[in-house]
């Protein structure tokens, strides 16, 4: 279990990580999602005690990282690619890590086999491809057979076969009851692997939810309706017992796959429709919406949106963007 409590990291004026609190639980894959520069890597470095938090705390099974005896046997991490000396062989790289944590040399051969690098174990790592590098990094993470694993952007730059391999590996590790904490800037990747989702943007927590809930909230289908006879249509819909998501908005939205029903209803009441279009939200859009909000919030710091009545803040779409209410809903 990894617990973050009010974790904050400042670099001078810039706040890289802002008061993050969440818990990474065992037995599931927790996806750590955010756009590039959101603070994911900084957070992970603080978990490992590489970067010192400005304030707040992060604990691994209740202890600070530097209080762990032989930390590689508690938590294994894949940080950025190629965090090793290119002149050293893969075997010797893993051997020096193993020795520092009292792990037997036989385990080095085991993990090399697991990641499929046995054939190149004696080769210098500077000749390794990106994919081989990721495999070596993962071998290092698995070395101590730890209960917790942390992967920073493990699929970055990998070919489809490598991506497939890493996905299956993470699922296997979680199924063994381990804690798997994996960062990505790709929603589509997380949707395929993660059971739980932590979303950050600009260093602050935007969502901490199960993947199933996130999908249910964000992949809703609805019907977009524009009509010059708003009031009549609203009455008709009300009469038919169909709920309108935001009756006050200019463009009406009706939840569900109901374009046929709405169209027939409008025809019966002789209401002119300018638009009647079924919509389906993708998770990628939901994620972009979520994180765009955080970017926007910073761009208009000190001038909260809606502070000037009747005037749209610059850069805002004319109506309230759909999905911005998903947390409320």
């Amino acid at each position: 279990m990894i617990e973050l409590e009010g974790l904050t990291k400042r670099y001078g004026e810039k706040v890289a990580v802002n008061n993050l609190s969440f818990t990474v639980r065992p037995g599931i894959i927790t996806g750590f999602l955010g756009p590039n520069g959101a603070g994911k890597s900084t957070t992970m470095r603080m978990v490992l005690g590489l970067d010192r938090p400005t304030s707040g705390d992060v604990r691994i099974d209740g202890k600070h990282y530097d209080q762990l005896k032989d930390p590689l046997t508690y938590i294994g991490a894949l940080l950025e690619a190629k965090a090793w000396h290119g002149g050293r062989s893969a075997y010797n790289h893993l051997l020096c890590l193993a020795q520092s944590n009292g792990i037997p040399a036989s385990r080095v051969r085991e993990v090399l086999d697991t990641v499929g690098l046995t054939a190149v174990a004696r080769k210098k790592t500077k000749g390794f491809s990106l994919g081989m590098g990721q495999r070596l990094g993962i071998a290092g993470a698995l070395l101590g057979d730890p209960r917790m694993l942390m992967f920073d952007e493990p699929v970055n730059g990998l070919d489809p076969e490598g991506i497939h391999w890493i996905r299956n590996l993470m699922k296997t590790l979680a199924a063994q009851g381990r804690t798997v904490f994996v960062s990505s800037h790709l929603m589509s990747e997380m949707a395929l692997t993660a059971d739980h989702l932590v979303v950050i943007g600009q260093g602050r927590l935007l969502a901490d939810t199960s993947m199933a809930d996130f999908i249910a909230e964000n992949s809703r289908s609805y019907v977009r309706i524009r009509t010059p006879q708003r009031e009549q249509l609203l009455d008709a819909l009300h009469g038919a017992g169909i709920r309108v998501a935001r009756p006050e908005a200019e463009v009406l939205e009706v939840d569900g796959d109901t374009s046929q029903t709405v169209g027939e209803l409008a025809a019966r009441h002789q209401i002119v429709l300018h638009e009647l279009s079924p919509q389906r939200a993708s998770l990628e859009e939901a994620f972009m919406q979520l994180t765009a909000e955080s970017v926007e919030y910073h761009a208009h710091d000190g001038q909260p949106p809606g502070a000037v009545p009747g005037q749209q803040p610059p850069g805002r779409p004319p109506q309230q963007p759909w999905g911005s209410d998903w947390k409320r809903g």
Partner: protein
């Protein structure tokens, strides 16, 4: 034992990169070969020297003439042992494996120092005996007063130079920057400061100027240096301690 594990790990690290072999190899070859060359040249030139210079001729020190160049290879060794961690990104992997930074740095410096000491001692003794062989009649014997101390001191000097470089590299966290400062400093600047009358009195307290005193057996005639061989080495040790303490402070306080 955590410390023993770190030492084993650092030994694996140091023996598994090519730079260890070529830097130390170069230090051995250059120190010995240049020492032999200058010893041979000194033998031929001796009869042409003034009586004054003949009186202060120091055959032991002459055989260590290669140290001035060989120490540069030792500097590269010391810088790369520590600096490669930073330039390769290995430091993050290393500190994730050994989060107690003091233990990590101490283990690394201990292993590199012991290796440097063994190589330096072999080099120093080899440079002395091979250099004396070149000097013919002028040669000193290992049993002469002060000679064993000088030869032993030559090994210590080379080791301390490597340690000083490790400390500087830990402070600067970049091998290129460290070499860019240390190489010209020890090859040129220190010599200039130590030989120009205006700066001589300060220059003699620089680590290499003070430390190399231990390799002298015959004191120059007009010598007014305020420390002896061991005093000079002590000054060098203080520099090394300061560099390592600075390196530790930086490693302890900075984000990796």
């Amino acid at each position: 034992m955590a410390a023993a594990q770190v030492v084993r790990s650092e030994w694996t690290k140091i023996r598994s990169v090519a730079s260890t072999v070529w830097t130390l190899g170069l230090a051995v070859v250059v120190t010995i070969a240049l020492g032999m060359l200058i010893s041979a040249l000194s033998k031929n030139e001796f009869s042409g020297l003034s009586e004054r210079d003949q009186l202060s001729f120091d055959p032991t020190f002459v055989s260590f003439a290669g140290t001035s160049l060989g120490q540069l290879a030792m500097i590269v060794f010391g810088v790369l042992v520590v600096g490669n961690e930073y330039s390769s990104g290995m430091i993050r992997t290393s500190l994730a494996a050994v989060p107690r930074r003091g233990t990590f740095l101490a283990g690394k410096i201990l292993v590199a120092t012991v290796l440097a000491l063994v190589v330096s001692m072999i080099t120093s003794f080899a440079a002395f005996f091979l250099g004396q062989a070149m000097l013919g009649d002028l040669k000193a014997s290992i049993g002469d007063p002060g000679v064993l101390r000088a030869v032993f001191g030559g090994g210590l000097y080379m080791t301390l130079i490597a340690m000083f470089s490790m400390g500087v590299a830990a402070m600067l966290r970049s091998p290129m920057l460290s070499l860019g400062i240390l190489m010209p400093f020890f090859f040129l600047i220190s010599n200039i400061l130590g030989n120009v009358p205006a700066t001589e009195k300060v220059g003699r307290f620089l680590p290499d100027q003070a430390g190399s005193r231990i390799m002298q057996v015959v004191t120059p005639l007009d010598d007014d240096v305020p420390y002896g061989p061991w005093g000079g080495l002590g000054i060098m040790v203080l520099w090394v301690i300061a560099a390592l303490a600075g390196g530790y402070a930086v490693l302890k306080s900075r984000d990796a």
